[in-house]
Amino acid sequence: MVEEPILEIRSLHLSFGGIKCLSDISFDVFDKGLLAIIGPNGAGKTAMLNCISGFYRPQQGKILFKGKDLTRLPSHQIAKLGIGRTFQNLAVYAGASTIDNLLAGRHFHTKENIFAQAFWFGPAMKEEMKQRLFVEEIIDFLEIEPSRYSIVGSLPYGIRKRIELGRALAMEPDLLLLDEPMAGMNLEEKEDIARFILDIHELRKIPIILIEHDMGMVMDIAQRIVVLDLGKKIAEGDPDQIKSNPTVIKAYLGE
């Protein structure tokens, strides 16, 4: 296997009105890789993802995805290039059904013409069927069949997290950004999510950037780990290297 970086972060600087949020961050995500970003609260992990998805504009540095710089692109175009993501604070469409949430993830794969469509649903019907079949497969995969038609706002937290993950998967992304997908879950729910993440990574071969607080979980599933603290990258390596890295231990345990 040739190690080819799909995402390259090059000396990224981000500040908000004088307050440095990220300084000089560089790392690569390799094709088929599972990279975890860890670090204490406020370290800048979410800010890092927001730079990748185009919500924050870094003052310096480059983000190359498949060789293309993302730092000046609007976020919906970044999504179209193949970057899917989930949010630390749930961002599902609470007022729509599970099916519609997932179908929304098929947005730019769905070929429909509004004018023809408004008059005659016929041609669009075929397209809807196609998308629906795709989405059904994700529903099976995430084991959310019973909630298929439920309004998402009425479902339990753990299920909603899964639906958000499913929505990102429906995009058929080439890179998946997961911001604390297990936050606020009990052990059993966490294990379910970990299983889904591993399946996505191993069976669907989608490279993943995972932000997670649960150290045990990260050490178990990540191939590479980047450690951020106060906006700086303080370490990078495989789980064993990180476990024994003195700087990391200091950052987590304090002096």
Partner: protein, 346 residues
């Protein structure tokens, strides 16, 4: 709609179909039949009530898409209706075919709506409400000063293939058909990619971006489509009135329209129908009761006649927002579910 237990779809196309059960087919055909036979059986005032209701539904369906589905509040909806009327009426006068006039009225409403929707790219909620309120007055000003003034335009009875819509009785058919056509369009828009993009923007615009939804584009399109409905409804109203005047398109109506989607249940077609009939019904009741109240309180009689219907509607709105903010459709869903799972409901 009614979906009894024991109904199972064997494929997805049935699930998103317009009509899902034989029962619904029967209801649809029956509904259409009743609607079109109605004028033969009811007195003229009742007919006028239905005409008003169908025009209002046409306009409110636009608001259902714009506000209910896409989450962009608009306090200027009647202004876009006026635009449709002021563009369509002169065209009708010049003998342009009716269908073309309706489309032009819709496009005019849509384009002006899109322009005044531009602030939505920057602001939300309360602030957007104020921007659209400003739009209402700006459009009114422009129409009065540059497009025919307070006098407005005379609207001749239009005709299709020699059939002239020259009486309320005949106009009813024009208006009901327009309303049903627009309802069908609404259904088609909400069950495809566009409807989902609108909901995505309403529920979480940041997340919508990460799915590749161009939020700016779809917000403007929601304004365009929503105001297209307004333009069509505006022209149809002026045909009914025989006259296009800015006074037919009041700010009070803008607010009532929002009230109607709140009472009905924001984002659904049935909600628009229920809300319109409910609010107009309450208003009618106010109109009937007002003179009786005036007899009881003679000293207030002068102000009573106009105020009572407004107070009635206002009261109903406040009650709905407090007790059933999700609207009549939601209540109906609850009842339907409990019937379906009877006797296990509580």
């Amino acid at each position: 709609m009614w979906r009894p237990s024991g109904l199972f779809h064997v494929n997805y196309s049935q699930e998103i179909a317009f009509v899902q059960t034989p029962f619904q087919w029967v209801m649809l055909v029956l509904g259409l039949f009743v609607t079109f036979a109605l004028p033969l059986f009811i007195p003229l005032d009742a007919l006028n009530f239905f005409i008003k209701a169908f025009i209002t539904i046409t306009a409110v369906l636009g608001l259902t898409l714009l506000t209910g589905n896409c989450g962009q509040i608009s306090l200027g909806h009647t202004a876009f209706m006026a635009v449709g009327a002021f563009v369509g009426a002169p065209l009708l006068n010049q003998g342009v075919p009716l269908i073309l006039c309706l489309i032009m009225a819709g496009l005019a409403g849509g384009i002006v709506g899109l322009i005044f929707g531009l602030p939505a790219l920057r602001i939300k909620g309360f602030y957007l409400a104020f921007a659209t309120l400003a739009a209402f007055y700006v459009i009114r000003f422009i129409l009065i000063h540059y497009f025919g003034g307070v006098v407005g335009h005379n609207v001749p009875p239009p005709s299709i293939l020699g059939f002239s819509f020259n009486s309320d009785f005949r106009i009813y058919y024009l208006i009901a058909s327009t309303c049903f056509a627009m309802t069908y369009f609404t259904k088609n828009i909400t069950r495809c990619k566009w409807g989902r993009a609108f909901i995505a923007i309403r529920d979480h615009d940041i997340a919508a971006n990460t799915l590749g939804v161009n939020v700016y584009f779809y917000k403007l399109m929601a304004f365009f489509i929503g105001c297209f409905y307004a333009g069509v409804a505006g022209l149809v109203l002026s045909i009914y009135m025989g006259w296009a005047s800015v006074d037919h398109y009041s700010l009070t109506n803008c607010i009532w329209y929002l009230g109607m989607i709140i009472v009905g249940g924001m984002h659904s077609i049935s909600g628009a129908y229920l809300g319109v009939f409910f609010i107009l019904g309450i208003e009618e009741m106010g109109i009937v009761i007002a003179p009786k109240l005036a007899e009881l309180f003679p000293q207030l009689a002068g102000s009573m006649i106009g105020a009572v219907p407004i107070i009635f509607v206002g009261l109903v709105l406040v009650l709905f927002i407090m007790i059933e903010p999700r609207g009549l459709v939601h209540r109906w869903e609850i009842i339907k579910t409990s019937i379906r799972i009877f006797p296990f409901s509580n």
